[in-house]
Symmetry: C3
Subunit: 346 residues, 3 copies
């Protein structure tokens, strides 16, 4: 097969990913696949015991397994305590990102006072504002707008149609997906005689290194101080983060979640999809919040929290709702029964 002459020897993948090799290190790997869909040239991984039975039947050329699973297959393998992380590294080696040729596209509009590193790439129709700086190897893709005095770090990727409002800071290696808007005005206004007076939003949005921000996610800038997203925070799509929030390092937030203004989320938290967190709260490091939960109070003890009701068949749901609406009268009725019993006993 031609495939055997392409790809990368398994031995080399083991070295580049810093994991143990077992079996034939000369087998050549040229793509990633799942255990059941794999074919020749593929490497697949097993991280969940649920799929262990696939190990016996996979047609992959090599597998990534834990030491505990290593004996279960005779295939060449990478042995690692964390097969999923190793899979991620192997996939990055086998499928490197397309590189972009450095330079400024002739249709881009770069302000004369902006500083763009010669190794950076500015795509078609992108706009770089006055006094903005774009560091080496950063990629500003088609139609993205970098406002005045923004700073974009080395090796960042701003996908097409991102908007950074003026003075936004983005740390190195951060990836921002299309449609994300960073640094827009927070939702601040004062009520006066039934009308609204806009409160100027004077802070910035400051995004750390190695952050990833999903498509159409919005992060408002601070009202007076800054909104801060620390290093290695991972935000999925369609998330809303209000002004003056502070998200600690390594925290991951799934899609459609919303964090109201001035809330401080700790490090290494995991927030489920569509979770909604009220403003002015403190959530301690290591908190795990379930999908679709509503958080209305600060969380001071790390652990798992939940609040999302599961959908039921329509008829059962209607009955449950009806019972819920009578819950207070049920409490009264139990109280009456308790009184009756107490009287009966006396």
């Amino acid at each position: 097969m031609v495939q055997d002459s392409t790809g990368i020897p398994l031995r080399q993948l083991a070295e580049r990913c810093g994991v143990e090799l077992a079996g034939n290190g000369d087998v050549r790997i040229d793509h990633i696949a799942s255990l059941d869909a794999a074919d020749r040239g593929a490497i697949a991984f097993l991280s969940s015991p649920r799929y262990r039975s696939h190990l016996a039947t996979t047609r992959a050329s090599a597998v990534i397994v834990t030491p505990a699973d290593a004996a279960a297959t005779a295939l060449p393998k990478l042995v690692t305590a964390n097969p999923y992380a190793t899979y991620a590294r192997v996939a990055a080696v086998l499928h490197p990102l397309a590189t972009a040729a450095p330079g400024v596209h002739p249709t881009a509009v770069v302000a004369s006072s902006a500083r763009v590193a010669p190794e950076a790439t500015i795509g078609p129709g992108a706009v770089i504002g006055e006094r903005a700086s774009i560091a080496a190897r950063a990629r500003i893709e088609a139609g993205t707008v970098v406002g005045e005095e923004c700073s974009v770090g080395e090796d960042c990727i701003l996908h097409p149609k991102v908007v950074l409002y003026p003075r936004t800071v983005v740390g190195p290696r951060t990836i921002v997906h299309s449609g994300a808007v960073i640094g827009a005005d927070g939702f601040g206004m004062a009520e006066e005689s039934g009308r609204w007076v806009k409160v100027p939003q004077l802070g910035r949005a400051v995004i750390g290194a190695d952050v990833e921000i999903g498509a159409n996610t919005t992060i408002d800038r601070g009202a007076i101080g800054d909104t801060v997203i620390e290093d290695d925070v991972k935000l999925d799509n369609q998330i809303q983060i209000g002004h003056n929030c502070h998200i600690g390092a390594h925290t991951a937030i799934a899609g459609c979640a919303g964090i109201a203004g001035s809330t401080r989320i700790g490090r290494n938290c995991k927030i489920g999809g569509a979770a909604m967190i009220a403003g002015h709260l403190e959530i301690v490091d290591g908190t795990v919040i379930g999908a679709a939960s509503g958080v209305g109070d600060s969380i001071t003890v790390a652990g798992a929290y939940n609040g999302g009701l599961p959908a039921l068949p329509q008829r059962e749901w209607m009955r449950l709702l009806a019972a819920l609406m009578r819950l207070r009268s049920l409490v009264e009725r139990v109280r009456a029964l308790e009184r009756g019993r107490a009287e009966g006993e006396s």
Copy 2:
């Protein structure tokens, strides 16, 4: 009235929409209106019995009714089992979409290796990547970015500021509204020693024919395989669809809904607004999920499901919450009463 000489004879509307004409087929119709707001030249429709009383007083020149309602009005009419669908067809005849002149706007940026059909329209500032193909009569509107190796089918409309990430496939006649982002990286990362390792997202987003995708909706591409949206799926605004989801044909999803990764939704489902569906589930064909419901388990029996709690006046809600928080102690108290009664009986 001049209006009588313009418009389209009712007879012709009946023919073009394939429905029965009753009454004067020469009356000319030039616009659509609701029964109560209609005036001369208008055609209105009655699909809900709630509005039947308007039939007697409407000033429309013609109406669209079911056979059961036909006798209730002497107006010229289109008689059809499905007045709303006939209304949709009549409206499309009376108010055709503005056509776009074919050709590539001089400010668009089309890669030299892209194939753009001569009858396609590429708007101002649009960007078409290398090896992308744009089929006949497709409209790529202002500022839309079509990534490398994308394929856009015949008669598609991509409204302004849509982003298709590289390798996205869009079937014929599909409409994508502004701000939608299709094919962005899924939310995949492996945890390792408290940090995140990005998992490369290698699949595609594959969108079928006759799909409509709402404004600012996001559909991530697959991690290994593809995310698939089948034919005639209708997605409202601000929906998030995670990587490797599969949405069956003719399914409609209302605004703000979220579908986490790898979930498979069947054909002809209806998902309510703001419904949140967890990842790795299977939802059978024909399932109906109520607005704001949270679905955490697979649904194997077609039918209606619900889970959204209704808001109550603040005071009632506080009391209900207080009762809920004591629900477990209520269970204990009932058990104690049952024990007491059993003892009393013995």
Copy 3:
């Protein structure tokens, strides 16, 4: 200190904001700060009694306080019934918006039939459609698309990457943040034999004066009539407003909320973040809806409404859910106890 020679005398701030001055009106103010973070040249405000203790220790050069708090500090001050609104005004004086030079950027694409006021600013890559009108001092920023026959009022700001679909109307002084899409097709389709027929969306989106629309918010145009957002409505980020909605003047809606089609919300309402309101409802003036509430019925009595469940520690939540699932059997058991007691009494 050099700072004393810059800034604006407190007396002048009092005059420009129309509030009472107490103490030294010559002190110069050049920035805004919070009470605890303030330094020389700063003005800070106290609106919540929670922070009154900061009054004694703040290093601000002046403060904004209520008459009740005025005696609590010897600092120069602005005395006003509404310190937060005064703060908003002072901040706007001290930190005026950067002005934009009028004119059309050479990379913008303005249709020949569009009318652009000479004092308006059209940014790089912006697109103005046929017969659109842009009034004096309006700012259409980079990459924003104004569709055919749109009207944008005086002093509007459309931030980068906004899309107005054709025929959208935006009143004077309205601010639209990046990624907002106004006037896209509503979610209208008729079901016919298991397929969908698109219902043409023929109305407009009509936005009043002094409105603010957050990043990535979507407002669909009407199906037959118009979607209407009245004057001084404030919409946060990521909000979805369906076709034919009508939002009354001075109403504020927080982030991630969704309003389904044809719902009418009154004046001076406050809708919390992530609240979801069903279609075809009427919500009276002055209604306050809590965060994450689901509203499924019209509200005819003004007041506060709530519906969001609070998250609990995982174990407590699982127990509560289990008790909830048995709630109906609990009702039965209480009924049995009541019957038993009635029999015992007889």
